[in-house]
């Protein structure tokens, strides 16, 4: 095969909101910008799946002509994001989020989005609408757009990134990218779990590639599970529709005995912990606990039904979010019948958002020169628990990462990649095509995904984490180098892609499980059954995973504090959660 080179100034890896926003901003510098999307343009990753909410302080929202709470303020939002994050947020990144949010909503509104609803400090629009607006703007400013291209590896020289190896998914041919600066905006790693709420391209390729070239990643143990995700029937599995409905209308959650899931919990948790976006963390914990105590249903979930919620209200809300009980091509009318008759459906926690990621500073520089990261792939804004909008995050971070990456590419001449770096990466990528007698990638993947859902779920403990780490280390050492595929052609070879994604999934799950075992306390979305208290004396730090000679090591660094001093002492987990919920400012709304 002939070698194909693609030279550019700024290479953006990822075609979600963060990637597009970074590319648009970088293009303003008048340099060459290339965005590489693993799937179709504006229809890849988590962004098109989002509801979507965009959060900012109510006062700024009002200044943009939307009815926000005028008594809300940047200071109140700061307080809320940091308390929701259990004080593990990088407060400098929280400031960047709050200060940049207004301008990013304004940009979106200029570029054309439909706002369906709003509350005190959030507007609701569609993820697809946002992506279409960004795509149009990217084309207008001249960003080069490549779709159905997967980035497999980063290449470096002289201690900095100089390019990346890409794979054309449809033809199976390689593309050698050479770039002055690279922005990783590849989102989360939902595919490491089954079930999950993400698209099938989200295998954490960008985070894993960054780790492999020496960029630090952190807080990998913090994984947000969305609660009330359909577990059954198979055609709806992974849909967050019941979550959205329950957030607005309430409803009833019960276990296999028909008992109310929430009885016995503190009234504050039952109220705020259910009817605000605190529910993702609280209800996932409650649901997981029910399953572990043997009170779960067939698929390990719980029952969701209308309960005492008014059918008329539910019908009205349903009609706004899912007109005729349809959302795009999914048809929920059978569910609507059950809601009306007060019959339950099976739901449960499923991975939805990754609070950790690549370590970045306020310029979105990673620890590797020339490499930037933005959006869900980056670490820091939300600490131990995200409640505020990740849609806002992807846009505010994408903008600044694009700007700073463009500056870097403009001032620093990039060295050529190390001789043979591309060829060696291509040889590694082709290995599964000539493997024989090895294990089948999809079989290995499903086994890992189900173990991840169980071992790295909302509730963890040393024994299960150790078993999981042992399983992953064995796979990494003995199975990954010996995968074989049954079709050895290069055209849309699904099994080959599985083989290429598996090392990334394994790497990130290992980083996460090791970090989860390392952190002997409970905080935010990380609950340790064997350490069920929040330890503000020893654990106000981010866990950091770095590449080492024979794998990775886990260490820690103190959280970055600006305006809010964290509390001290050791507090039982739910008591801490209640205290943090009650520390919310007086602004209403879902966030």
């Amino acid at each position: 095969m002939t070698e194909t080179y693609h030279d550019t100034d700024v290479l953006v890896v990822g075609g979600g909101g963060a990637g597009f926003r970074a590319a648009i901003e970088a293009a303003r510098a008048g340099i060459r910008v290339t965005l590489v999307s693993k799937g179709p343009l504006a229809r890849s990753g988590a962004s098109p799946m989002a509801g979507a909410d965009f959060t900012l302080d109510g006062k700024s929202m009002n200044e943009l002509g939307r009815e926000g709470d005028v008594n809300d303020s940047k200071e109140k939002v700061f307080n809320d994001i940091v308390t929701q994050g259990w004080y593990l947020n990088n407060q400098k990144l929280v400031e960047q989020y709050i200060n940049t949010a207004k301008s990013q909503l304004s940009d979106l509104m200029d570029w054309g989005i439909d706002i369906t609803l709003s509350d005190e400090r959030a507007i609701f629009t569609s993820g697809i609408g946002i992506m279409d607006a960004l795509l149009k703007q990217a084309r207008t400013v001249g960003v080069e757009l490549l779709e159905d291209v997967s980035i497999l590896e980063l290449v470096t020289n002289d201690g900095r990134v100089t390019g990346a190896l890409g794979l054309d998914v449809r033809t199976g041919s390689f593309i050698r990218f050479r770039a002055g600066a690279i922005v990783i905006a590849s989102g989360g790693w939902h595919k490491a779990f089954w079930p999950n709420t993400g698209m099938r391209d989200l295998s954490g390729d960008g985070i894993a590639a960054a780790l492999r070239v020496g960029a630090d990643i952190g807080n990998m143990e913090f994984i947000t599970f969305c609660c009330n995700v359909f577990y059954a029937p198979p055609i709806w599995m992974g849909s967050i529709a019941p979550y959205i409905l329950s957030l607005i209308c309430g409803g009833r959650l019960s276990d296999r005995n028909g008992d109310d899931l929430l009885s016995g919990f503190d009234p504050v948790l039952q109220q705020k912990g259910v009817l605000t976006e605190w529910n993702k963390s609280f209800l996932s914990y409650v649901s997981a606990q029910a399953a572990r105590e043997g009170r779960g249903l067939e698929c390990g979930g719980v029952h969701y039904s209308r309960g005492d919620a008014d059918w008329g209200f539910m019908q009205m809300v349903g009609g706004l979010i899912f007109p005729n009980w349809k959302y795009k091509a999914i048809d929920f009318s059978a569910w609507a019948e059950k809601l009306e008759k007060n019959e339950p459906v099976e739901v449960g926690p499923a991975v939805e958002y990754f609070d950790g990621g690549i370590v970045v500073n306020e310029r979105f520089e990673t620890t590797m020169p020339g490499l930037y990261a933005a959006g869900e792939a980056a670490l820091g804004t939300f600490g131990a628990n995200r409640v505020f909008s990740a849609i806002t995050e992807m846009l505010v971070q994408g903008k600044d990462a694009g700007r700073f990456a463009a500056e870097f590419a403009g001032t620093e001449k990039s060295p050529d990649p190390r001789k043979n770096a591309f060829r060696e990466a291509e040889d590694r990528a082709c290995a599964p095509l000539s493997g024989t007698g090895g294990e089948s990638p999809p079989v290995v993947r499903r086994k890992i995904q189900e173990a991840a859902h169980s071992r790295l779920g909302p509730i963890r403990c040393d024994k299960e984490l150790t078993e999981f780490i042992d399983m992953l280390e064995d796979i990494q050492k003995n199975v990954l180098s010996n995968l074989s595929v049954s079709y050895t052609g290069r055209t849309y070879n699904k099994e080959w892609f599985d083989a290429l994604e598996l090392p990334n999934i394994v790497e990130l799950l290992l980083a996460s499980a090791r970090s989860a075992r390392f952190r002997t306390e409970s905080r935010g979305v990380h609950f340790r059954e064997d350490f069920p208290h929040t330890d503000n004396d020893s654990w106000l730090c981010e866990s950091i995973v770095s590449k080492s000679e024979d794998g990775t090591t886990v260490s820690s660094r103190p959280v970055t504090v600006t305006a809010m001093t964290p509390p001290v002492g050791k507090t039982p987990y739910l008591q801490m959660m209640k205290t943090l919920i009650e520390a919310h400012s007086d602004t209403g709304g879902k966030h």
Partner: protein, 109 residues
């Protein structure tokens, strides 16, 4: 009660082989509430991992609209076409003239 099974026929086309597609048959266990995508996933994971269907950036929930195909002759999305337990299921590419491989279409120009 014995596990219900369905007979699935998939029209496969290998770009490196002959032009005409070949029909391959698979026996798949049936679960209530399955979609055609669930059927393809089962075949891929348990019976024949050489099969190709659009999936590298699929949402599985009818939002991205990329898993188009023909299910028992009718065009639709694999992920949101329910499968019933009776009879046969035939899965074909949505347009036989534009096949990349098996059920994956070439990109429109």
């Amino acid at each position: 009660m014995a596990q219900k099974e369905i007979i699935v026929t998939v029209l496969r086309t290998d770009p490196d082989g002959s032009d005409a597609g070949t029909k391959k048959r698979y026996t798949v266990p049936f679960t209530d509430g399955m979609s055609a995508m669930n059927v393809l996933d089962y075949i891929y994971q348990h019976l024949d991992s050489s099969i190709a269907y659009y999936d590298h950036a699929g949402c599985g929930l009818g939002i991205c609209a990329r898993c188009t195909g023909r299910i028992n002759g009718k065009a639709g999305l694999f992920c949101q076409t329910p499968v019933d337990g009776g009879g046969e299921l035939v899965l074909e590419p949505v347009n036989k003239d534009r096949v990349q491989r098996d059920l994956v279409m070439k990109k429109k120009k």
